[in-house]
């Protein structure tokens, strides 16, 4: 059997396909079919020849095999420092061999590559900082994922994830109607406590267009309400688009580049339609990376920038606190040891390291903020990045991966972890569930709302 019913080289493009694949619980049949999946070597080699440019070629060729990348990889550290987890080995034994053999590889090899690409690398890009030759294996693993995806060798959840983006243009089955209704519902739900609270949909020419992560309308709509409250208190003229509101990209984790482009163009179309002065994304690292850092390239924008300035939530929050749009009641500041998770996707990948610390300087009583070690651009992945969190097949490996973050948090002695990234937030929640170290974790929005010094006229009239 060259291609299976669920496991095949064709992306999921219709709702029926999507529901059918979802119905294959845990991907049981999917992975069985994968054992029979043929490799189209000619197509694979043609695609490598077309897309592998001098950067990757050179990286594969000049790697000095010095092994200095080993210690830079948290997965190497938490997996007993087995040599099979050395980044250089991981990429040379997969992509390196695939290129050497000019794409003439078999099913077993592709499955080994899949396991390596999705369970032994979270594309956190940390190794790139520790390679004397400037070889970034995270970048190469992203590339390898694209090749694997095109041949149908992709974990079940990510095949579905990218299918979700193709069908709903959201990582979950949230339709335009669901989204708009959720916004209306959240505004109503909170307007008693926050008179005048609005979530304006499709307002043209606002100062800010806000976009988020589909998990918010689907699973924690209070996050949208919290964003609305903070914009409201700050007096911002803002809006959300009815279409193009979802800025995450599971297709980026899956290696479905065509879908990545479609999604980001959808968000950019909203920007062009609503003409906001700038866009602000939610507290999510990979969403920011997809829409703001990588997105412009998928969309073919030669300046590498989105159509309007597009910033991460932490940048807006720091600015609002700095300019006094939001005021913190000093008596309500955090007065317990607290630490901060630096998200790879916007710290190592876009340098937003100081701005998060600026926020902490407003909301944490001096002396209570404890840095993780290492931190900032040297910080380790939360343990669940690059799609790792969501893949059932690799849950065990993911749980091992969480240990690095656990050690780092335990070393700080803090019980509270601020994680302004959905994926890090999930990973830290899972690590508490798995290892029960007695910690709490939070996004910034609820923390800030709890300590706001709200002007009287914005509060509900007293009884």
């Amino acid at each position: 059997m060259p291609e299976g019913k669920f496991c095949n080289k064709t992306p999921i493009n219709t709702e029926e396909q999507l529901k059918a694949t979802l119905g294959d619980k845990g991907g049981k049949q999917y992975y069985e079919e994968m054992n029979q999946l043929d490799v189209d070597s000619d197509k694979l080699w043609a695609s490598i020849q077309k897309t592998m440019k001098s950067r990757t070629k050179t990286w594969l060729e000049i790697c000095a095999h010095c092994g200095l990348c080993a210690e830079s990889c948290f997965l190497y550290q938490v997996n007993g420092r087995v040599p099979e987890q050395v980044p250089s080995y991981k990429i040379q034994s997969t992509l390196g061999v695939m290129v050497k053999k000019k794409g003439k590889v078999d099913n077993a090899f592709m499955q080994m590559c899949m396991e390596t690409a999705w369970s032994k690398c979270t594309c956190c890009n940390r190794c790139g900082m520790y390679c004397p030759l400037g070889i970034d294996m995270g970048v190469m693993f992203s590339y390898l994922r694209g090749l694997l995806y095109s041949q149908g060798f992709v974990p079940w959840e990510l095949k579905i994830g990218s299918g979700m983006h193709r069908v709903y243009r959201a990582q979950m089955d949230v339709t335009t109607e669901d989204w708009v209704e959720t916004c209306e519902w959240m505004a109503e739900e909170n307007e008693e406590d926050w008179p005048g609270l609005e979530i304006p949909v499709d307002k043209v020419g606002a100062d800010i267009m806000y976009t988020c992560n589909a998990r918010e309308p689907k699973h924690y709509p209070e996050d949208i309400a919290e964003a609305a409250i903070l914009f409201h208190v700050a007096g911002e003229n803002w809006t959300v688009p009815s279409e193009g509101w979802e800025q995450t990209s599971l297709s980026m984790f899956a290696g479905d580049w065509e879908c990545c482009k479609d999604n980001v163009l959808n968000v950019y179309a909203a920007l062009e339609r609503l003409k906001p002065k700038r866009a602000i994304g939610t507290e999510c690292g990979h969403a920011h990376r997809a829409t703001v850092i990588e997105g412009p390239y998928w969309a073919g924008r030669p300046d590498g920038q989105p159509p309007v300035p597009y910033i991460h939530y932490v940048e807006w929050l720091a600015e609002a606190l700095r300019t006094g749009k939001l005021k913190i009641d000093p008596t309500k500041r955090i007065k317990e040891p607290v630490t901060l998770q630096d998200s790879c996707n916007y710290v190592r990948n876009q340098g937003l390291k100081d701005v998060t610390r600026e926020i902490l300087s407003y909301i944490v009583e001096p002396g209570y903020f404890v840095e993780m070690a290492p931190n900032k651009e040297h910080n380790y992945c939360c343990g669940g990045g690059g799609g790792f969190n969501g893949i059932g097949k690799y849950r065990e490996q993911r749980n091992v991966a969480l240990r690095k973050k656990m050690e780092q948090i335990l070393d700080t002695g803090c019980k509270l972890v601020i994680a302004p990234c959905h994926n890090c937030w999930d990973a830290i929640r899972d690590l508490e569930e798995e290892y029960k170290i007695g910690i709490r974790w939070s996004f910034l929005k609820p923390l800030v709302i709890g300590m706001l010094d709200v002007p009287k006229h914005l509060l509900p009239p007293e009884e």
Partner: protein, 225 residues
Amino acid sequence: MYDFLTGPMLWLTFAVSFGGLLVRAVMYVKGLSWQLDRVAYRPNMKYGIRGGIRSIVAFIIPFKARLWQTRPGFTLIFFAFHIGLLVTPIFLAAHNVMLQNAFGFSLPALPTGVADGLAWICLVGGLFLILRRIAFPEVRIITTFYDYLLLVISVMPFITGLIARYEMGDYNFWLAAHILSGEIWLLALPFTKLSHVVLFFMSRMQLGMDYGIKRGGMKGTDMAW
């Protein structure tokens, strides 16, 4: 033999080696793709150059990059090996005599003692590089025969050069062996991963540009390499 090795063969070697390296550098730049690499090189050239230079500087100065600080032992061996390998042949008095004869100019020459010392450091450094490949599992797993071969090609001119210099055995034989092994090394530069003599700068520059342009440089936060 000597005349041939230091005459036509040397010229051919230089032409192939330096010409080849130049071709590698040009091909590297031509093979970059802003869209596939996801780095807008051209429109953000200023940020890119700045990031690129920061990235190169951090890695060519011992103990500057975080990497070098985390591995002090390796850093010492690594830099000793590379400095010995590059400085000795360029500033060796005997080589400069040849340069003087051929072109009528020469570079400042190293005192013999220093040159000997550098050559020995390079040899010992090379030995350590081989030993760590055998000793450490994380290096052993990625090491191939090719890696050893390149190390041998790189230190062979030093072994033969030192034997000739101390006049052990037949001087003329060892001198010829020295010249030949030096030429083999030069010829290997563009065709093997020894091409990192130029591609190190290209790759580091590129990653530095990546960080300088989209991964933080334009946000005003420099990467703490």
